[in-house]
């Protein structure tokens, strides 16, 4: 469990990091290292150069400006979890983070690192999709912005191109109440099924809804039909029944020793119902 040989650089600016990434084939950025370091130890990842992003100050921080919350990609998960402004602005992110790992992993793990790693069972990609986050990417040609739903492509696969770095996540103020629920083997493990639910009710009408499943397929699955029903029919008990009948159970492809596809399928409606009910019952007002 010793990594294959690699070179190591620790730049202090994004520009230098991009230069280094562009200069080597198989160069790879490293953020908090909570996934990449074990992959290096197992020799599942064999970069020729590790570009350590931990010493670039501009990549960390939480800032609210003009109704948009910008979270630097290198901001530690623990920082985000403890942030009052995040709690006010995007409670779903906090609710998701409560299910991510443990205090020691969150103290090191970063918000952007988890997104860029794109483990199909990770919580943060689902939360980003449910919050309609914008992923800010820096490359040699400058910055570009990608919607979260377009950023996450497959298992460990994102819209990031070689030589690019995820530099920040931008979140508009969360519309509606939310909940994040999951079933996992142990608290803090990746979910067997995760559900991010967000419902915005105004004057008895559902004006916005997001329902995102994780842990069931190559990437998080947005339940478009269920969201449409919520928006059309409102978050009534009858509508919720219709929502549960319209879940994309066919999307389940994950089938493993720890949980079969059938088990994941039967958990989905139960967790969705609970998540929607928990969101509606939550005291967090938008």
């Amino acid at each position: 469990m010793k990594p294959a040989p690699f070179d190591y650089e620790a730049p202090t600016t994004v520009a230098d990091a991009l230069k280094l990434l562009g200069s080597h084939e198989d160069a790879r950025p490293i953020a908090g290292g909570q996934s990449l370091v074990p992959m290096l130890a197992f020799r599942l990842a064999r970069p020729s150069l590790l570009v350590d992003l931990n010493r670039i100050p501009s990549l960390s921080g939480i800032e609210e400006k003009g109704g948009v919350l910008r979270i630097g990609a290198m901001t530690r998960q623990a920082k985000v979890l403890a942030s009052d402004v995040v709690k006010r602005h995007a409670p779903l992110l906090v609710q998701a983070l409560e299910n991510v790992g443990h205090p020691p992993t969150r103290a090191r793990g970063t918000i952007g690192g988890s997104c860029a790693h794109a483990d199909p069972a990770a919580e943060l990609p689902s939360a980003m999709i449910a919050l309609d986050a914008t992923m800010v990417i820096a490359g040699s040609g400058g910055e570009r912005r990608v919607r979260a739903d377009d950023f996450f492509i497959g298992a460990f696969e994102t819209a990031l191109q070689p030589g690019e770095i995820l530099v920040a996540l931008e979140l508009s103020k969360q519309q509606g109440v939310s909940a994040f629920l999951e079933v996992s083997a142990r608290k803090g493990d990746f979910g067997i099924v995760t559900v991010a639910a967000r419902v915005a009710v105004k004057d008895g009408r559902c004006i916005d809804a997001a329902l995102v499943l994780g842990g069931i397929a190559e990437r998080s699955v947005r339940c478009a039909e269920a969201e449409r029903i919520l928006k059309e029919q409102g978050a009534t008990p009858k509508a919720i029944d219709a929502v549960l009948a319209a879940l994309p159970l066919d999307a389940v492809t994950m089938d493993s020793r720890s949980a079969s596809a059938a088990h994941r399928r039967r958990l989905i409606p139960e967790l969705c119902r609970r998540a929607i009910e928990a969101a509606l019952a939550s005291q967090v007002t938008p």
Binding site: K187, R257, A259, E270
Partner: protein
């Protein structure tokens, strides 16, 4: 001192990160080893080419079986077994065929571990795959190709006691069920490791890292290498856990020392976690088919059991001891005379098996205690009541079950089973109603009773030395993997000698300091180690009193020990300190032994005492009750253990805090075995578990506050201190009690019969047929 909750003296260094483990030791000119292991479950090695690896700068050698002595035997089985196991023994390095993923093929020695791993990638091995025996079921199928000329079954045996068929014919009720226990093992947080260094000119081989049974393993190494015992030193550093799996004579235990001799430089090998999963002895995997009968008033009349254990690819040092214990002890704490068991030890292309804390008992309890609940359910009887009616009574002690395991009779020397049972039930509040479940949550309560053997092993030794400053050193033949011996053994000696506890040091696990040692296993250190220390302390005391009587011009029976002094009881101002006595008894000192005029003679031999104690083969039996409340989410299959109480009658608790710690730690480990842990293989024999991301250990979230009830009702009648071992009762009943609580919560007759109890399996029980 005995009975006091003394804080563990060893914890200071562990908590400060000052422990010195084998990986903390380094020697000049030391090289690092990497063991190249088979990626194939069953294959012939067609070719092996290490030339590219050897060309790498910094690589010293790539050793294979061809580099070991041609006369080397396979690793012997050191425990009596049922029949001849020689056809199934493992050579330290694979010769022409590999039989499990993880079997050592070669050893790469280099200037660093990372470089050795780089070199390993350059070794080219061509395999010709052979048919795989995936599990015991396949092993038992006559159509499956044979792994060995005699076949895929290592051995079969059984017992047929009383009149089982008559009991079933006459029974009012009969129940029947099959149970399966998954393969899992010990996960000490410190993996194994060895450093071997050879002084060729003096013919002295030193090995750091061996633990559990260093003397036994040193003798095995000496025999296999044709060396003298006295030319080998095994030294135990601090050890981060064993749980039964760390004392086998593993392949590495021979080839690391041998290659250090061959290379002429010290070699360090530190097992990494990935190889630990494939190379530590696996354990537990077995199935029970159980049939039981009872009268309508709840008297259990017979057990009929078919036990099949999957021991993996080879028989190693522990032979078939795990299913052997399970078969011998299946009837548990109940007075049952009609018992039949047919046991099979099967072989498969998986890592070989050995012991894990409560070997065979965790498994047997899981099956038996569910069957007892099934009898109660069928009779409409309270589940505590059926146990109450069948427990062995104090006046029936000693109780001989009628079986043997590894040539030892299954014998319970003493016990007040009903006494502890009633105390446990009342303490827990067995009859108080469970809180109602909210929404989809259903609550359940479980109870199990069990008996664990303790104190096995032929002998133990202890030596106590008091130095001329009045400090005491205990040399124990018990080894230490974190259990608390450095605190507990001085408590025993302090009780006898009246020396303050903190004036003791304990030395252990070093064959250069300790001529004979039994080691630590089978919950034996309190039973054998502490009793040896107790008698050694008595020997020191006798010596001190004899010397003091001369020094004080008093009779021995007028003297007493008090706070590091020998006093004249009637006049405490007349005294000599133990330090003074130790100075007087120093060899060469003229006091009491004047120099001879014309012929040499025996001298003082210090204020010391040395004892060797022989054990009772059947050990001493410990009774325990486990009770738990659980909440099962019937919508998700999630299980929460809400309350857990474990009790044990340990005869006498030398340090109640350490005993409670053993019980609580055992329960935590048992929760892992019941709910989470599995060394999983696919049907082609590939190990699926390679890290703690997929081998799940319990965390603080999965573990409730555990109440430990330690009582001293029935002292052991077979040792001076009256102690019984406490290391294994904590884990032994966990799967059983959680299963019974889950079945109670379900209330449908459905039962968890397959471990581990994942959310998926639990939800299957809620929704049968889904």
């Amino acid at each position: 001192m005995i009975g006091q909750r003394v804080l563990r003296v060893e914890d200071k260094r562990f908590l400060r990160g000052e422990g010195r483990y084998v990986a903390d030791i380094a020697l000049p000119f030391m090289r690092e080893a990497y063991v190249l292991r088979s990626p194939q479950p069953h294959a012939r090695i067609v070719s092996f080419d290490a030339s590219a690896a050897l060309a790498l700068e910094g690589v010293d050698a790539v050793y294979t079986a061809a580099d070991l002595p041609a006369s080397l035997t396979p690793i012997p089985c050191r425990i009596p077994t049922h029949g001849d196991m020689t056809p199934f023994l493992q050579y330290p390095l694979a010769r022409d065929v590999v039989r499990f993923v993880g079997e050592p093929i070669a050893v790469i020695v280099a200037s660093s571990r990372a470089l050795a791993e780089d070199a390993a990638e350059l070794v080219a091995i061509e395999f010709e795959p052979l048919p795989v025996v995936a599990d015991a079921k396949a092993a038992l199928d006559p159509a499956t190709p044979k792994m060995y000329p005699p076949g895929n079954i290592a051995t079969q045996w059984g017992f047929d006691l009383g009149k089982v068929d008559d009991a079933f014919a006459q029974a009012d009720i009969v129940v029947e069920k099959s149970f399966s226990i998954q393969r899992h093992s010990a996960m000490p947080l410190e993996t194994r490791g060895l450093i071997a260094s050879y002084d060729k000119a003096r013919s002295y081989l030193e090995v750091w890292g061996p633990t559990k049974v260093p003397h036994t393993n040193r003798a095995m190494l000496a025999r296999m290498l044709g060396m003298r015992d006295g030319d080998i030193r095994f030294a135990e550093p601090d050890v981060g856990g064993s749980f039964g799996a760390r004392g086998e004579f593993y392949p590495e235990d021979i080839f690391i020392p041998y290659f250090a001799i061959k290379l002429g430089k010290p070699i360090r090998w530190i097992e990494d976690r990935q190889e630990h999963f494939a190379s530590i002895n696996h354990s537990r995997e077995c199935t029970f088919q159980v049939k039981a009968s009872a009268t309508k008033d709840g008297r259990i009349t017979a057990f009929d059991v078919v036990l099949v254990a999957d021991l993996g690819a080879y028989i190693r040092t522990h032979g078939d001891v795990v299913p052997s214990h399970a078969a011998a002890s299946f009837p548990g704490p109940y007075a049952i005379r009609n018992y039949r068991v047919a046991a099979t030890a099967a072989l498969s292309n998986k890592t070989p098996s050995g012991t894990l804390r409560a070997p065979g008992m965790f498994e047997a309890n899981f099956a038996r205690e569910q069957i007892v609940d099934m009898l109660a359910e069928k009779l409409g009887m309270d589940r505590a009541e059926i146990r109450r009616r069948n427990l062995i009574k104090p006046d029936e002690m000693p109780w001989y079950v009628g079986t043997q395991s590894v040539n030892r009779p299954t014998l319970f020397d003493s016990g007040d089973f009903p006494g502890l049972f009633e105390e446990s039930v009342s303490r827990f509040g067995w009859s108080t109603p469970l809180p109602k479940g909210e929404g989809p949550v259903r609550r359940g309560r479980g109870i199990v009773a069990l008996v664990e053997p303790s104190g096995f092993g032929p002998f133990e030794s202890a030596r106590i030395e008091i130095d001329p400053a009045g400090f005491a050193t205990i040399f124990t033949g018990a080894s230490n993997q974190g259990q608390g011996h450095e605190t507990m053994l001085p408590q025993v000696a302090a009780e006898v000698l009246g020396i303050a506890h903190d004036r003791f040091r304990v030395r252990h696990g070093d064959t250069a300091m300790i001529p004979y040692g039994g080691g630590s296993y089978a919950s034996r250190t309190a039973v054998m180690g502490a009793n040896a220390v107790h008698r050694a302390a008595l020997a020191v005391k006798a010596k001190a009193l004899a010397a003091a009587a001369q020094m004080l011009q008093a009779k021995e029976d007028e003297l007493a020990l008090d706070d590091g002094k020998v006093i004249v009881a009637a006049n405490p101002s007349r005294f000599v300190t133990l330090a003074h006595i130790a100075r007087v008894l120093t060899p060469g000192n003229a006091e009491l032994v004047p120099a001879p005029k014309d012929f040499i003679k025996d001298d003082h031999d210090g204020l010391t005492g040395e004892v060797f104690l022989r054990a009772i083969p059947s050990g001493t039996a410990v009774f325990s009750v486990h009770m738990a409340d659980i909440a099962l989410d019937t919508g998700t299959g999630e299980l929460k253990v809400e309350r857990y109480c474990v009790s044990g009658d340990v005869g006498r608790a030398i340090n109640p805090m350490i005993v409670e710690g053993q019980l609580v730690g055992g329960v935590v480990q048992g929760i892992g075995g019941a709910l989470l842990e599995e060394l999983a293989y696919d049907e082609d024999g590939n190990l699926q578990t390679g890290s703690f991301a997929d081998y799940l250990l319990p965390s603080s979230h999965e573990v409730p506050r555990i109440e430990a009830l330690v009582v001293e009702k029935a002292k052991s009648i077979s040792n001076d201190l009256g102690v019984k071992g406490c290391g294994e009762i904590g884990i032994s009943g966990v799967a059983a009690v959680l299963a019974n609580a889950i079945a109670h919560a379900l209330g449908t007759g459905a039962r968890p019969t397959k471990l581990p109890l994942t959310t998926e399996r639990l939800l299957d029980l809620v929704e049968p047929g889904s």
